[in-house]
């Protein structure tokens, strides 16, 4: 029963997210609205952590499996991709590294600066 309730809450919030996605004319998916709703509901105590925890953790745990079918789809878009395949791969990989470095180091730099400041 516990799991069914947890699942119902999670699916219910996903549905709310879907409604917002339909009403608000922005390219923001149901999942992101749902994530915000879930976070707000937990923070305000509207939903207790124990009311979603196990099922939520299970879904997160199996999440990698959900990426397999859309990735296998790469074989289908091969035709259009080969036109600028090298560019796609180089841009994808290189920009990942620059974004990774910029966001990670900026965050780390500010945190360390603050930690140092706090100690003095």
């Amino acid at each position: 029963m516990k799991y069914i309730k947890q699942f119902a809450i999670i699916i219910g919030i996903s549905f709310l997210g879907e409604i917002l996605n339909r009403i608000i004319p922005l390219p923001i998916p149901a999942s992101i609205y749902g994530m915000v709703i879930m976070f707000a509901a937990l923070s305000t105590g509207l939903i207790k952590l124990s009311a979603v925890k196990e099922t939520g953790k299970f879904l997160i745990y199996i999440m990698p499996l959900m990426f397999i079918p859309p990735s296998v789809k790469l074989i289908e878009s091969w035709g259009v991709m080969k036109e600028f395949l090298v560019a796609i791969i180089v841009i994808s990989l290189l920009s990942t590294v620059t974004v990774f470095a910029a966001s990670g180091h900026t965050t780390q730099f500010i945190i360390r600066k603050k930690e140092k400041g706090g100690k003095q």
Binding site: I28, G56, I68, S92, T96, I111
Partner: protein
């Protein structure tokens, strides 16, 4: 045989899950980052489809049900984030500025590389949303007039790269603070990288989840501005 497999509901699903397990086994046995279960499962599935001469749609007929829970699973990423609320509150400014700098860097890097590769405008806007989560990326690519199928592919390549090399990149680039690691992984490689961040640690996973949502929304704004400016 081929007809049966093409019409089977569970063939695609067992191929995906089974090959993922093979990947987990290889990863545990060899402990090399290239034996990434997600990568292994994609490679095995693609090779199997090509060898058996089964088209993607027949495979996806069953396999798609694996992806049906992606929205609820993404919604649940708010749970670890809530559990790490203290980290979020303590480092709020650092996290937000970090994500914003990643989003800006993405736009600038892709613009420079697009110019170097002499891509046309359509090809450029196709790649612009590649660091963000698929659902936002698709919407954005459509909005800007890109090739949506290629945007999805670029997002997958990026995410897969993050899932395979996320930990290694933190090490090479000298990103050591768990909050910074999470921000870097989520901002650059969305949900697929986050799946890996969850394995690295709870703080990393939570921050990575937050970064997906914030980076996604910031990218929507930045791309519209960028596209409008050029």
């Amino acid at each position: 045989m081929r007809d049966f497999l093409s019409s089977s509901l569970f063939f695609g699903m067992i191929l995906s899950v089974g090959s993922y397990l093979v990947g987990v086994y290889l990863k545990n046995k060899f402990k090399i980052f290239i034996f990434n279960p997600l990568l292994i499962s994609i490679v095995i599935s693609i090779v199997a489809l090509l060898l058996l001469d089964i088209d993607y749609n027949s495979y996806n007929n069953g396999a798609k049900y694996l992806s049906y829970l992606l929205t609820p699973a993404t919604v649940c990423l708010a749970i670890p984030l809530y559990e790490q609320m203290k980290q979020l509150k303590n480092n709020f400014t650092a996290i937000m500025i970090g994500i914003a700098s990643g989003v800006m860097t993405s736009a600038v890097t892709i613009l420079i590389l697009a110019l170097l590769f002499k891509l046309n405008h359509t090809q450029y806007v196709t790649l612009l949303p590649k660091s963000i989560t698929t659902a936002i990326g698709i919407g954005l690519s459509e909005e800007l007039g890109g090739y949506v199928a290629i945007t999805v592919s670029a997002i997958m390549i990026t995410g897969l790269f993050g899932n395979i090399a996320g930990e290694l990149l933190c090490h090479i680039l000298g990103i050591k603070h768990p909050v910074a690691k999470g921000v870097a992984i989520g901002t650059s490689t969305h949900v697929m990288g986050t799946a890996k961040a969850m394995e690295i640690g709870e703080i990393e996973g939570a921050m990575s989840s937050l970064a997906i949502a914030v980076a996604g929304c910031m990218t929507v704004l930045a791309s519209i501005l960028f596209e409008w400016a050029i």
